[in-house]
Amino acid sequence: MNRAAVHKLAGFASVIALVALWQLASLVVPYETVPGEPMVPGWQVVFTRTFVSLADYWQGGLGVPSVADGGPRTYAGAVLAILSNSWDTSLRLFAGLGLGAFVGLAAGLAVSWSRWSRRIAALPAQVLRTFPMMALIPMFQLWFGATYLGMMLFVALAVGVIFFTGTANAVGNVADIYVDYARTQGATRLQIYRTVLLPAMFPELRSSILLGLGTAWTAVVAAEFLGAQTGLGQIIVSAQYFGYVDRMFVVALFLLLYAAITYALFERASRRLTEWMPRGQSANVYGAS
């Protein structure tokens, strides 16, 4: 068996172990949040009554009435609830991610323009890097209410800070020789940014992008905790209110799935963008080669 197969098998085995561990925990933890609602719901609960109960979060339409309007709990309602709430969360996430990545990258590149701009930005960048952004959510709530704009801007801020500090750092680590080589060939400053700094810093920026992706998911769900009317974060909060750990758990599984998909998509793009790198150094977000 080759190394890649061993890696794959080991990864698969660890997932199975986690699934089994959860089931074991459900057996040894007998507590309930409210009567009939287990603190640690086993897979037999999750795959039977929990999924269909998500129909509660479908707001009606497409021929499937909402449960609140007296409709029955159906699988169609549950699927529609997941799809529509995932869609809302994704819109906030990707809009915020796009905005934050763009502004953070642009700001990171801008501060690298001169020695003075680097000096001016160094301290704020250092402070921002360690600032717990989630602490700002209530302030955003007051500023923007529980609106799409507010949630998107919050994601953008959390992601933007990571991109900004990551970019400023990565630009600073690009070897001078490449910039000098470009200058002696007549490249303008903008051409140097586009054709030298961006490709040269991408391998180092990769870890910031990954961190930004993870942070974006955390930020969007956290932003939805406070007053959003739709979205996966809102389902978690509303389930918590009634002690429905199983529903929170299922939504968490969906979040896990989405995060894994975004990581995998990024890994694919990253592989293409680092095709030029020596073998063993090109992209692999999971660390295995």
């Binding site: 000098d180 080589y181 200058r183 002696t184 060939q185 007549g186 303008t188 054709t195 490709p199 790198m277």
Partner: protein, 260 residues
């Protein structure tokens, strides 16, 4: 024609300790058009700094550098530089590397690729135009760098110990490639080296630098192409002896006296 004039050029650096270091201490030189000049000297003698000043990568502390009476105020593709370390962009395929300067100046894609292909062929790398630099050997990377500077049609070619890290055979092959291109396009070449034999093989003129100053300036009138035989002629041996003495290698010279 491209004549390079250096007038009272000084370059002073400040070390991190705060001490001032005079890397180039008042150099007056004229490099004539089409001349192949080698600069030789011990480490830290200021030869690389001088080359970077001519390239325009940093401003001179005082004095002036001019090419055909036009003061150098920054880098230009007219003064191409081949670096000591590998500077070929690893994220561009060979052809795109060679075409880079042309692209920066807005030459359209088909035209610049044809030019780049032509220069890759001239350095013997026609078959690797789609390769990534990571797939090339050290000698091939140097060939790409040489093709790249020539593709920019430089009037002055600056080379900073470009072949220092290469093996003996590859180095000799690259000398022939470089001399062939120089013979064809005739840029003025300023070539920094540690290697006395390399200087004897390549140069019309050898400048010895010590402590930021010109310590010697020698014309080499040996006929070209130079061969093992011509490099054993009395003129070549005499030059070599003086150069070795300048580098402090008196023990290698018969009478063992040091050069002045």
């Amino acid at each position: 024609m491209a004549e390079v004039q250096l007038t009272s050029v000084r370059q002073v650096f400040r070390r991190s300790s705060g001490a001032l270091v005079e890397a180039v201490a008042g150099v007056d030189l004229v490099f004539r058009a089409h001349e192949f000049v080698c600069m030789i000297g011990p480490s830290g003698c200021g030869k690389t700094t001088l080359l970077q000043l001519v390239a325009g990568l940093m401003p001179v502390t005082s004095g002036q550098i001019a090419v055909d009476d036009v003061a150098v105020s920054g880098p230009s593709p007219e003064r191409g530089l081949v670096f000591q370390r590998d500077s070929v962009f690893p994220w561009m395929r060979s052809l795109d590397n060679v075409a880079y300067g042309l692209k920066c100046r807005g030459v359209d894609k088909a035209k610049r690729e044809n030019i780049a292909r032509d220069y890759l062929n001239q350095v013997g790398l026609g078959a690797i135009e789609r390769s990534w630099p990571r797939e090339l050997s050290g000698g091939m990377l140097k060939r790409v760098a040489v093709a790249t500077v020539f593709a920019n049609s430089p009037r002055v070619l600056l080379m900073d110990e470009p072949f220092g890290a290469l093996d003996y055979v590859t180095k000799l092959q690259l000398h022939q490639t470089l001399l062939g291109l120089w013979g064809h396009y005739r840029p003025t070449v300023l070539f920094v080296t540690h290697d006395v034999d390399e200087a004897m093989l390549l140069a019309d003129r050898i400048i010895v630098m010590k402590a930021g100053r010109v310590a010697d300036d020698r014309q080499v009138t040996l006929a070209r192409p130079r061969t093992v035989e011509s490099l054993a002629l009395p003129e070549a041996v005499a030059h070599k002896e003086v150069l070795l003495r300048h580098l402090g290698l008196n023990a290698l010279v018969q009478d063992g006296k040091s050069a002045q």
